[in-house]
Symmetry: C2
Subunit: 145 residues, 2 copies
């Protein structure tokens, strides 16, 4: 696509495709996918939380949280306990296996960042992060005004 080579959205999309593919491969060999990592990371960062809270923290839809959590309970990575203070809620907890799993996914993730940014110097990588941060912040801030 010669025409599209200068178009930001095309470049962003292509870069996203490649990184997503690499990430999906890496996560798949660990038996996980993107949603799993995000949820594990959120749980590790903020401690046990309800599913709705997790959904808000990760930007994953409530219904998709349910599905991912089902898969993760099957793998004994998390546990669902009914909240005694609010019987609508489930309190989701990270199991030791879940913490270990998160650690391996974390290393996978880090390795793939280097792979993605291979052609860039450290300074350029920081530059890229800075530019993208501004774009992402701009469009997430304006989402729900």
């Amino acid at each position: 696509m010669t025409t599209l080579r200068h178009v930001p959205s095309w470049l962003i999309g292509q870069a996203s495709m490649h990184s997503h593919r690499l990430l999906a491969e890496g996560f798949a060999t660990a038996g996980a996918r993107g949603y799993h990592y995000r949820l594990l990371a959120a749980l590790a960062a903020a401690g046990p939380a309800s599913q709705a809270t997790l959904g808000r923290a990760t930007g994953i839809d409530r219904s998709d949280v349910v599905a991912a959590l089902n898969e993760m309970t099957a793998q004994r990575l998390i546990e669902r306990t009914p909240d005694p203070d609010d019987r609508r809620r489930n309190i989701v907890t990270l199991t030791p296996a879940g913490e270990r799993h998160l650690a391996t996914l974390e290393t996978v993730l880090a390795g793939i960042q280097d792979e993605i940014c291979a052609p860039l110097s450290a300074a350029e990588r920081d530059q890229l992060v800075h530019l993208l941060t501004r774009i992402v912040d701009h469009h997430t801030g304006e989402r729900t005004p």
Copy 2:
């Protein structure tokens, strides 16, 4: 996701999500989607071509080309003619309506680029394009050696 805010692949993915959403909205109001634009652009750039050629030029799978082309023939944007020189092939041609449609999609696309890059100066936008180009080239070059 505080943890992910510095991770390139996360930023790329988020940026891709936003631009994809904007683009999908814009294209949808014109009755198109991403594949349609890509195919129209490829046809305009290289002239009439077979479906397999189009697939290779756009990076879209043969089977997905079929589906998109079906939708586009229903909208009278393209025409499929059997190739007399090779009876396996269809020669796909852009209709006048298709050219007009492409033009409107082109303006939609351009507008959205500005929207995406709104928080960036012209120089920064060039910088971003340059950095992303290097990443994309790196990972597409290594794809099929």
